[in-house]
């Protein structure tokens, strides 16, 4: 089963999506609409988002591309809900920058609270998987708590969704093709098999430091093949058997409107 949050017919709804793409609300109402309909507004799929843990340099090939040694332990940074947006929504490119890139990532959504979770028990604490695009503004990197908040905590720069897939419906999360398309052209093509620290490892690692709670998320990093984004671009991040996440890039002025 897949789970999502949408606005449809003026209502904010929690929905389940079955293998035949039939949409049912959590109240049992069947919605007469298809998944690709423009009548659906997709919200970030985690209803009450908690702490978002994101991984840097978690694919050996991407670590090489960025001229760093692969880390000996996870490079984790934290994000919050201000960064989240949904499928088919907009993310913005800040003014006067040289390089903003996408990062297609597998996300594990925590479903149960736990601390000191052992690797072999980790999947009992994961509700499911989704996809995010963890945009970065490389111009803003500084060597203090890197990647710093100015790079990674901006409004709208963490699209996620469209849905969460139950863990039991994903046979092997460590062997999924991961691709990104920009304006219809594949620019990133990797596999979760190249992940350095996988989800069970990360659940164990983080829960040795702190309690993980339902609604927390772990964005597991991205492989090589990042490219610059410009207003007008459409970027689609896809992970096999999970979902495809589409984002439209707009200018800072267009995004903030009256607040610009």
């Amino acid at each position: 089963m897949r789970h999502a949050r949408i606005i449809f017919d003026g209502r904010e709804l929690d929905i389940d999506i079955d293998t035949n793409d039939r949409i049912t609300t959590t109240d049992g109402e069947v919605l007469d609409v298809t998944l690709d309909s423009d009548d659906i507004t997709w919200l970030p799929p985690v209803k009450e988002p908690g702490t978002i843990f994101a991984l840097g340099l978690n694919y050996a090939d991407h670590a090489t591309e960025l001229a760093f040694e692969p880390p000996k332990e996870p490079l984790v940074f934290i994000k919050h809900a201000n960064t989240l947006t949904g499928h088919k929504q907009v993310s913005y490119r800040p003014d006067n920058i040289e390089f903003q890139h996408y990062e297609c990532e597998l996300v594990a959504v925590i479903g149960k609270a736990g601390k000191n979770i052992k690797r072999e028990d980790a999947m009992d604490y994961v509700a499911g998987y989704t996809v995010c695009n963890d945009f970065a503004i490389r111009d803003y990197l500084e060597n203090y708590y890197r990647p710093n908040l100015r790079v990674k905590s901006r409004d709208s720069l963490l699209p996620m969704g469209p849905w969460i897939v139950d863990c039991k419906d994903v046979a092997n999360a460590n062997n999924l093709r991961l691709t990104t398309e920009v304006n219809g052209k594949i620019t990133q093509d990797g596999s979760t098999s190249d992940m350095i620290f996988d989800v069970p490892f990360l659940v164990e690692y983080l829960s040795k430091i702190m309690t993980l709670n339902p609604g927390d998320m772990i964005a597991t990093g991205t492989p090589h093949g990042v490219a610059d984004m410009q207003p007008g671009d459409t970027v689609i991040c896809t992970i096999e058997n999970i979902c495809s996440l589409e984002t439209h890039i707009v200018s800072e002025k267009e995004y903030y409107g009256d607040k610009y």
Binding site: H80, R146, P147, L149, R150, D155
Partner: protein, 222 residues
């Protein structure tokens, strides 16, 4: 978990905002891995598992082998409580978005390095008590004129005049609001004395700001 706190959704902390600390570390910050001193506020989050209240016990942290860590430290800051949505505001108007002030104690492993996000040091459960209350913004004429003191077991260990901050409260609110839209109830811990105070198991830690109150917590593990 989120009910047991004065914080709503986000606690942003500002590191390296003590002028004397920045001056003392200038040589270090011109070398690898930093290469040059920070040009922007150095920010970190205390996530929701860290949030706690006045009077609460702060857990003594464990290392990755499950043993008690050897050392912990505390810093204390003025906590600026956001009153309404704060998006891309100027310094001149920034204080208009403040609902009130409180105190944030940041318990952590000793700060040794600022290069990578300090998840292991800063994200410990119960390590961010906030309180004892939120005093209304209009009771504090100038937040940059306050002094934050830390007493451990009734002995004063630290006094930090916010006049010695590299960046003022208004400047920080403005700069942060251009990175992320802040929401009512979110809190910014604007600056800590550069020298964090070492603490040990069972210590009673009181962080005080005149006009804001005293935030009292006890270290566990005794």
């Amino acid at each position: 978990m989120t009910a047991n706190t004065l914080v709503h959704s986000k606690l942003v902390c500002v590191a390296l905002n003590d002028k004397s600390q920045l001056a003392a570390l200038e040589g270090t910050f011109n070398e690898a891995p930093y290469k040059k001193p920070p040009t922007q506020p150095v920010l970190y989050y205390k996530p929701r598992n860290t949030w706690s209240l006045d009077g609460a016990e702060v857990e003594w942290a464990k290392d990755f082998e499950g043993n008690d860590v050897r050392a912990m430290a505390v810093g204390a800051s003025l906590g600026v409580v956001i009153g309404r949505e704060t998006c891309r505001v100027s310094q001149a108007e920034a204080l208009d978005y403040v609902r009130g002030y409180t105190i944030v104690s940041d318990f952590s492993l000793p700060e040794e390095n600022y290069f990578r996000p300090d998840i292991k040091g800063k994200c410990l459960d119960t390590s961010a008590p906030v309180g004892p209350e939120v005093v209304p913004a209009d009771t504090i004429a100038n937040p940059n004129a306050l002094t934050v003191t830390i007493r451990v077991n009734d002995e004063q260990k630290s006094a930090f005049a916010l006049a010695d901050m590299q960046r003022s409260v208004a400047e920080l609110i403005s700069t942060i609001s251009w990175i992320m839209t802040l929401q009512p109830g979110e809190i910014i811990a604007v600056g800590f004395a550069g020298d964090r105070v070492p603490v040990t198991r069972g210590d009673r830690v009181e962080a005080t700001i005149e006009g804001v109150g005293t935030l009292s917590n006890t270290l566990g593990g005794a």
